[in-house]
Subunit: 397 residues, 2 copies
């Protein structure tokens, strides 16, 4: 009982100052998505395990907390990612014929942290477009993701482009089981050349050489030309490189200051990507702030395979690099039954002010640690009238 | 796999129109709490089970999903209620000497629904004040709760007042274990007179008569006088009735149209209440919309027993009786690479408009079922300039 207040590892409370920043960011990002026509949905935290994990791969399975439903005896999972849920909603609940744009914002839970300092309870915000095969969809979701980073004021954004089809093209003609493929993808994602060399030992020499060369295909637009030189000339690879060139050029044109990079070995994140993909960073910061791309197969298990592109990010991580919202300035007011006082307090609150009433005999317990507001004015009675005046330094803050 | 899209019982997706209403309500209620000086915190969904359940009673234990932490091997719980978490934050993280006001908004999970149509995943919004023993705290949280209902425009609110000390006073001198006490509280909460008669068979006659009389002590201010007649004259009961009279009078004075009722047998909800308590309804609707009151003991297990009063409500339920937010009016725009078009789309979005781009060859798949926006204007090119015009009926909506 002594340690009842200790939280599990990689689980933390969010205290007022950061919570207020996250809330401000949450509203701005949701409003940004709404401005692009993305409609908010709230999928549940709990689902049947087979629904939550179908077609999403081993990685998501390992990340998902499981428990038994007392009502049905069936196995449930706590969502570790909201994308498959958005696909399920598109496939079954909305069932629209044309393009559907959805966004969401809510917690997800991970059995294990994804890094040393990572939380196991990210607050996932994301947007997904269903029903459009063309690259315009990929461009729109990447632009919305970049717009969200700009809205958060994270400094100069950087976009890394990659494509899930490059690895498939490099390995075409090679028979390999899903586990072997995942091991290669993990070695690529962690840029682990010795491991990649070991894992690829049994492959034909040209596949192996192409695979190893992916690790060096990182940089600006020149990477695409280099890739055409080094990688085998196969339709899957050609299409991927053409589409990356198209996307990169348009993203660059829309924002000449944007740093557009290509990282053809990027295989991080979940296994459902099927085409172009992107990762967003802030210049000078190595943590990925958002990930997205094309995942046309994700709805297939729900009986309606629709083209899909989207992105997601963790609002808790983003809030750590985003510009902090200014602290609210509050008014201290005494407690009392005077109707004029009560009316004035109500009027100020309705006008958007924070008015904190000091209860009789109690100190206003508002030390500045992690506080969301700071008092700078007080409501005082002067000859029967209630007036605002600046708070003198002698008062408790 | 065929049924991969079926959700567990009492678990549901929230589709765009309702999700937008909930989001609007969420912002308004958080802003209302902030205006009273309540600071937002975001406690985690997962905690060690002993931390989550200490001192909260059997009811909450049964409602809590349990799972094992792979990192520590310890038992974790998914929160079924956020109030004990707020008390933990006040006790350990903020550790302020004076009054601390906190608010929160996030999902909670219940193993079993609390009613036929209840969700097992309420979106709990609440506010708590720590550190003030006086009734001014009880009054402030009740007024904030009522203000939230008014903000949600739920029609004429009704407040039912009760006090946890009445039952303790009625049973004073009777030795009874916690289980027996809980059984009595449940019988009272469900107004089950035959069950209450059976359960109280072994009690001394005067305790039993007072207990049975609680079921009839429901109504307006006259209930307080009746209670003084019928219930034994003990300090605990006298204090409770005096405090209910004080609270009721001030709530009535602040809003003459408010229906103030007293229900001395109300024992619903969790076991942590220790003083005055209240339930809010909308006139003509039997579902409780919010519950709150005094729970001074809830932080004791965290080593810092502070006076506490607060309330909570489920935003999903509230959104069903609240006035719906107006549907956003959207602008349809063609897709294109013309910089003038792109600049105009950006300008409109920055000005707060919803601008949906119709991607080449794709229908705008926006049938009105559960939609969050409706297109009423379009962006068209007239002699090289991009102009807004009303959407003609022939266009897809």
């Amino acid at each position: 009982m002594r340690s009842a207040w200790l939280l599990p590892e990689h689980i933390a409370d969010v205290l007022p100052a950061q919570a207020q920043n996250i809330e401000t960011l949450r509203r701005r990002l949701l409003d940004r998505a709404l401005a692009y026509g993305y409609e908010l949905v709230i999928p549940p935290l709990l689902e049947h395990l087979d629904s939550l994990l179908s077609g999403t791969g081993h990685e998501l399975d390992l990340s998902t907390f499981k428990l038994v439903d007392q009502l049905s005896g069936r196995m449930l999972g706590l969502r570790a990612d909201t994308t498959p849920q958005a696909a399920r909603i598109d496939a079954h609940l909305l069932n629209r014929q044309g393009v559907t744009r959805l966004c969401y914002c809510g917690p997800v839970l991970h059995t294990r942290p994804t890094g040393m300092a990572a939380t196991r309870e990210p607050l996932q915000f994301g947007a997904e477009m269903f029903g459009h095969l063309g690259l315009e969809a990929d461009l729109e979701v990447a632009e919305l993701a970049l717009d969200c980073l700009r809205t958060a004021k994270v400094g100069q954004p950087v976009i890394d482009l990659a494509d899930a089809r490059v690895l498939r093209g490099v390995l075409s003609g090679v028979l390999m089981d899903a586990e072997g493929l995942q091991a290669l993808a993990r070695a690529l994602a962690s840029k682990d050349a010795p491991l990649l060399a070991t894992l690829s030992e049994g492959l034909p020499e040209d596949n192996r050489a192409a695979l190893m060369s992916l690790l060096r295909l990182y940089g600006s637009f020149e990477v695409l030309a280099a890739a055409r030189e080094v990688l085998p000339d196969r339709p899957l690879i050609r299409t991927a490189l053409d589409e990356l060139a198209w996307l990169g050029a348009r993203l660059q044109a829309a924002d000449p200051a944007l740093r557009v990079a290509f990282d053809l070995s990027d295989m991080s994140g979940y296994a459902y990507y099927s085409g172009p993909r992107f990762a967003l960073f802030a210049a000078g910061c190595s943590d990925t702030l958002a990930r997205g791309g094309r995942y046309d197969e994700v709805g297939a298990v729900f009986g309606r395979s629709r083209p899909a592109a989207g992105f997601s990010l963790d609002l808790k991580s983003l809030s750590e690099v985003a510009a902090a919202a200014p602290m609210a300035r509050a008014i201290l007011a005494p407690w009392g039954e005077d109707p004029a006082l009560r009316a004035e307090v109500r009027r100020l609150r309705d006008a958007g002010e924070v008015v904190v009433q000091a209860l009789p005999g109690a100190a206003v317990g508002h030390e500045p640690e992690a506080a969301a507001w700071q008092a700078d004015r007080e409501l005082v009675n002067r000859d029967g009238a209630w007036l605002l005046q600046p708070l003198t330094a002698a008062h408790p803050q």
